[in-house]
């Protein structure tokens, strides 16, 4: 079996400008931030991001890497409004496909199942239809005759997710309470890059955890990156919680200043700078 381990920079080196990129996690929870930081060090730009948005979106938008965003929200959870996303929207700079949380999920499921769309009882009657004039509806062919949104597949060129453990072949394990949609992101993508807190032997994965914690399957994974503290400053239960103090710093520091202080070097430099702060 192939060893898929690589560095974050190698993973990001396989991405290209203009790609549609799915990012796992949810809000400010278990975001693949080490991969996002690698992306910020790369020249890759003009991205279409598909994300239940958090600081992943905020940072890439602040750095001018995002052409278009597909989302239902962007939030830092404990800080409701993401400052960089907000600023970009208020400057009219960000192309947005704003859809409902459930529409988003069914879009990923459609992509994972190689379906062009899935019917969803959401969107009709709301301005999601007004701001997405390309959305179509379907009518049930059965006697109920209900009309649904035909949520188009959210097919991804690549997906980035972060989990607690993985083996070298790409079997990814989550140990916190919520898988979010990370397996779906991987299944919906042509290539998926999984970062993890720790790479372990395959047998190690189920020594202390139940098999249903094995969320991401290796056939959906292209690269595995060991990235300790790689979700920082978002949460990665049970390994660590959200770094609220640092998140506040991120949210209240002008982007150029934050980037110069924390993102000028590599991941090691970032982690060292974070340690210095706390």
């Amino acid at each position: 079996m192939s060893d898929k381990t690589m560095t974050a920079d190698e993973a990001v080196g396989r991405l290209m400008s203009g790609m549609t990129l799915g990012i796992g996690g949810w809000g400010s929870r278990r975001k693949p931030m080490a991969l996002v930081r690698a992306l910020l060090r790369s020249p890759v730009t003009d991205l279409t991001l598909v994300s239940y948005g958090g600081p992943d979106v905020g940072m890439l938008v602040a750095a001018g890497r995002v052409r278009k965003l597909v989302t239902a929200f962007v939030t830092l959870d404990s800080i409701p409004l993401e400052p960089h996303f907000r600023a970009a929207r208020e400057r009219g700079e960000l192309e947005l496909t704003e859809i409902d949380e459930a529409m988003f999920m069914w879009g990923l499921r459609a992509a994972a199942n190689r379906l062009p769309f899935l019917p969803v009882r959401a969107g009709i009657g709301s301005d999601v239809m007004r701001v997405n004039p390309g959305l179509r509806t379907v009518t049930s062919p059965y006697e109920d005759g209900e009309r649904f949104v035909a949520m188009p597949a959210l097919r991804l060129d690549a997906a980035l997710v972060h989990v607690n453990r993985a083996d070298r072949q790409g079997n990814g394990q989550y140990l916190g309470p919520d898988p979010y949609f990370d397996d779906l992101f991987c299944e919906a993508a042509d290539a998926a890059y999984v970062s993890c807190e720790r790479i372990v032997d395959t047998a190690e994965l189920t020594k202390a955890a139940a098999p249903q914690s094995l969320l991401v399957k290796r056939h959906t994974v292209t690269g595995v990156v060991e990235a300790p503290n790689g979700a920082h400053f978002t949460s990665c239960a049970p390994d660590y919680g959200r770094d609220e103090a640092f998140q506040k710093r991120y949210a209240t520091t002008p982007w150029p200043e934050f980037a110069a202080r924390f993102l000028a070097g590599d991941e090691q430099a970032y982690q060292a700078a974070v340690r210095e702060e706390t």
Partner: protein, 251 residues
Amino acid sequence: MKAGALEGRETDAPDVTRAEYCVVACAEAWRGAGEVLASPMGLVPSVGARLARHTFAPDLLLTDGEALLVGLDGTVEGWLPYRQHLALVTGGRRHVMMGASQIDRYGNQNISCIGDWARPARQLLGVRGAPVNTLNNPTSYWIPRHSRRVFVEKVDMVCGVGYDHAAGARHHRIPRVVSDLGVFDFATPDRSMRLASLHPGVSVEEVREATGFALVVPDEVPYTREPTAEELRLIRTVIDPHNTRAQEVGA
């Protein structure tokens, strides 16, 4: 409306705070709901949902705010990650109480942005789950500061679907809107918002003044009911001993 007729009730329980009336008004949203998930968003609705679970809606399901279903003492009784939560919505066994940055007379709700969507004056959260919620399970709203900025003639972005846009969608229902001034419903012929009760100490004029559209006001408007002594004890000593409710609704 003859608010004066009921004014005496205020003095029966002079120490009940406005926040506590709001808690009771929110709790009432889940009366008779049966074995469904209560999804309160905000501090006062959270206290309200727990109060309902403690008293007249003992079968309610509650979450820890993350992926676990928990009892009142925190005992884990189930698993509800986001993927299952979104699926549960479509099944309808849930009554959510959402916030609203704007709400109009037909119950259209906005949490996405203020101003022109293409270039908003103020970007807010995004539509989140409001479109799926409103077409699938009962959706109520909690507005901690009733004002003309929130109760508007027309919302800038319809996130939660109101009665005029729902066009009779089979599972659409907005049982109530609770604000710091009163309780509102849509029990009118054209499904426009009606003042259902005033919190003690609030006048009809005050509500009209703080509402940006013509509210339906019946001839007789009752006051929001008093909490029972047991409910007050639960709120103050069991559910919310640190008085977080006062952060949302001041005295």
